[in-house]
């Protein structure tokens, strides 16, 4: 598990940690059941304060990405499928809204936008 911390980013470090772990789960790099370092161990490895990692883990736990059991440590949650779907959905919506806004500003019609979407979908991958 690789986590990159940028100290100059305006994004709080705990957010950087949680969003990177989320990204790894969604891309499949981290599978359900995979163990992740304990809060304190991770804090030590990436040189940040414990509370910062704690915040990140709390958020991940709340959103169903990880599970922590006393004595056994933290693992990627087995039943996060719905959560991941939701997260993907949320992202799609976010990006689509940006696209819509750009379309409106440039005077593109809905049909043209849909055609653009079809092109992109068929281009990357399949």
């Amino acid at each position: 598990m690789e986590i990159i911390i940028s100290s100059n980013s305006s994004k709080p470090i705990y957010e950087q940690i949680s969003s990177q772990i989320k990204a790894m789960v969604m891309s499949g790099k981290l599978q359900p059941g995979d163990p992740i370092p304990s809060m304190r161990a991770l804090a030590k490895i990436i040189h940040v304060s414990v509370i910062t990692v704690q915040k990140a883990y709390e958020e991940l736990q709340r959103e169903g990405f990880i599970e922590t059991t006393v004595g056994r440590g933290s693992f990627i949650s087995a039943h996060h499928r719905d959560v991941i779907q939701e997260e993907h959905q949320r992202r799609m919506e976010e990006h689509l809204r940006l696209a819509v806004e750009a379309a409106r500003m440039s005077g593109t019609t809905l049909e043209e936008l849909i055609r653009l979407l079809e092109m992109c979908y068929k281009e990357d991958g399949q």
């Binding site: 709080p12 304990s38 304190r40 804090a43 030590k44 940040v48 304060s49 414990v50 509370i51 910062t52």
Partner: protein, 287 residues
């Protein structure tokens, strides 16, 4: 919340001096690292001395691991590791001799751990302390503080005067120490960048008074410094900010909730705060 260290209403006045500790209160939660910040002469060392009983406070209660710390409680001191801003140890001793001394004094001296730490920090074991550089001496003192079953470390400027490479090594050690959630650290430091990296909480002291105790992440991401013109500043309500200071042509204002403030004052720029700027504002600002 369990606290490793609780300081309540600590006061001390040196006779004939204007300086005093005035009702100093703060607590270090178990499992955390608390940075203790203040300008020179603010009272950091005096507070630490009172906590460790090398100075007698005029009033106040100090509790360590939930128990009141008195001279007689040698059992508690077995679990407190200390590094002062000094050489700390007799100069003619070597690391090895120091270890043999501590073995007879501390109940839980861990020779193997000490040896490992010395090796890891590259402190020569048979060189007299007076022939070691300051960085080496601090590393030695830190190794000793870690090696006797301490659950609370009290460090007075443990990284000052050290080069960045050594500082990084020390910070790593501190983080390792709190990997055990029963361990805590109180460290006073000028080097706010170190604290910004590893501290969970920051306590600010100025002129013998505690100005603020807060989570470090809150200070860095929630607090903000608003840059105001005079009329904008006049329009603010006192409850909206903690401190303000005129600097050049603007007034810097410390606000505890950057988001909310921005929402209510869209015309005012609010920057992210750094520990340094917060400290300067608290020290120099009117409250």
């Amino acid at each position: 919340m369990i606290y490793s260290l609780e300081v309540s209403n600590l006061s001390k006045r040196y006779p004939g001096a204007t300086f005093s500790l005035d009702n100093v209160s703060f607590a270090v939660p178990q499992g955390s690292i608390m940075g203790f910040v203040g300008e020179n002469g603010a009272g950091k060392t005096t507070t630490i001395n009172c906590i460790l009983n090398t100075l007698k406070p005029d009033s106040g209660v100090i509790k360590i691991f939930g128990e009141e710390m008195t001279e007689a409680r040698t059992d508690i001191r077995n679990h407190i590791g200390v590094v002062f801003d000094a050489i700390n140890f007799p100069e003619t001793l070597t690391a090895n001799r120091l270890a043999s001394v501590f073995k007879d004094i501390y109940h839980h001296w861990d020779s193997d751990l000490f040896r490992q730490l010395i090796d890891r920090l590259k402190v020569p074991a048979d060189v007299r302390i007076k022939d070691l550089s300051r960085g080496m001496t601090m590393k030695l003192a830190t190794a000793a503080a870690f090696s006797h079953g301490a659950r609370l470390l009290i460090l007075d400027e443990p990284t000052s005067g050290l080069d960045p490479v050594v500082r990084e090594e020390m910070l790593d050690l501190f983080l390792e120490f709190v990997e055990n959630e029963e361990h805590s650290i109180l460290m006073s430091s000028h080097i706010t960048s170190d604290l910004e990296k590893v501290a969970d909480y920051i306590t600010f002291i100025h002129n013998g008074k505690i100005m603020l105790t807060e989570e470090k992440d809150a200070l860095l991401y929630q607090y903000g410094i608003a840059r105001c013109r005079s009329e904008q500043f006049q329009a603010l309500d006192k409850s909206e900010y903690l401190a303000a200071r005129k600097r050049g042509l603007q007034i810097d204002v410390l606000v505890p909730d950057k988001q909310r403030f921005s929402g209510q004052h869209r015309d005012i720029t609010v920057d992210n705060a750094t520990i340094d700027e917060i400290m300067v504002l608290l020290v120099k600002g009117d409250q």
